[in-house]
Symmetry: C2
Subunit: 196 residues, 2 copies
């Protein structure tokens, strides 16, 4: 089975000195459990839902050939909720529109899951991510797409927060943080449901 992870720097694993990120950890765990997966990591630094929407249609087809079983995991939003030059990079309403468009593309190709944006250290920024995560959860419910909130749960995990503080930019964790991230996704029944 091929799994394409689509997202931003947190998907590609920026800050992780092991270079596995959470997608690599999930696939290694699956392989250790006897189910090797082909991992395609399409995370790109600094991207918002707008960027992802624009490139997804071009990048998925070479990786999702009709002859192979395939899955997509989406994860973005931290950059949408970022304030740059006094403005939010992507307004809430546009983030939702982009999510709908992205999901309409992926779910016509293969089963899709969405993993929500994780917390950052800054309180105001984190509040915007929580709000976005709630809105994404509602939109995904509307579409019948499984959605995993990451922001509040990881915010209660010192492993994640300490890792954020250690890396230093306030929103990328290191290896310990990505391990906590991967553990939460790995325990998710929607993820596990793909392999039964």
């Amino acid at each position: 089975m091929r799994i394409v992870f689509v997202g931003d720097s947190l998907t590609v694993g920026v800050g992780d000195e092991t270079y596995l990120g959470w997608p690599g950890r999930l696939c290694a765990a699956s392989s250790a459990a006897g189910l090797p997966l082909t991992l395609y990591n399409l995370g790109v630094r600094s991207e918002t839902s707008r960027h992802i929407k624009n490139r997804l249609g071009r990048e998925l087809p070479p990786r999702l050939l009709p002859r192979d079983e395939a899955r997509v995991v989406l994860s973005f939003g931290v950059n949408d909720a970022k304030i740059e030059n006094g403005r939010r990079k992507v307004e809430l309403a546009e983030s939702v529109d982009n999510l709908f468009e992205i999901v309409s593309k992926t779910s016509s190709l293969c089963p899709t899951l969405m993993v929500g944006p994780p917390p950052v250290l800054d309180d105001a920024y984190r509040a915007r991510i929580e709000e976005l995560s709630d809105v994404f959860a509602g939109s995904c419910a509307e579409m019948g797409l499984p959605y995993l909130d990451m922001c509040r749960p990881l915010c209660r995990q010192s492993a994640y927060l300490d890792s954020l503080a250690a890396v230093g930019d306030g929103y990328h964790p290191g290896a310990a943080g990505y391990a906590a991230f991967a553990a939460r996704v790995g325990e998710w029944e929607a993820w596990q449901g793909w392999f039964v």
Copy 2:
């Protein structure tokens, strides 16, 4: 610095139970030496130089933003030299044309290196890869592009050959093979020259 690795299943690390592949090992070693890199892995299973040529122009720009220092490492050829339904997937002359076109795209964007295709277990298939590697070496020399032959050197390493035999399909190694692959690239002066 962002490094984009462009290639096939051997670039994406198929068979590697650690999910690092050789690009992940190279970047982890660089990070351990004090220089963290952003790793983009654009390896896609079963692709030949023809596939790579067709998607490269679309996939590089989102990952190579003008504001960031960037590099590209190319590695393909094993699938070009494969016989399928009695025919070579890509004829030698076309492989060379594709290489020239790929390099003209990447080297206009950023410094580029090429890592040659590694050996496979089958003797006749490996001979075709060796021949292709020699032709790629000549073409790269013509373009002034550093090229690293992998086929003959890895063929003399039992770590690589044993790993190929252990995985079982005859052309993907496991973790030990990818470690040997990464070690050879890591010792290459052209790779090291990017970080001095």
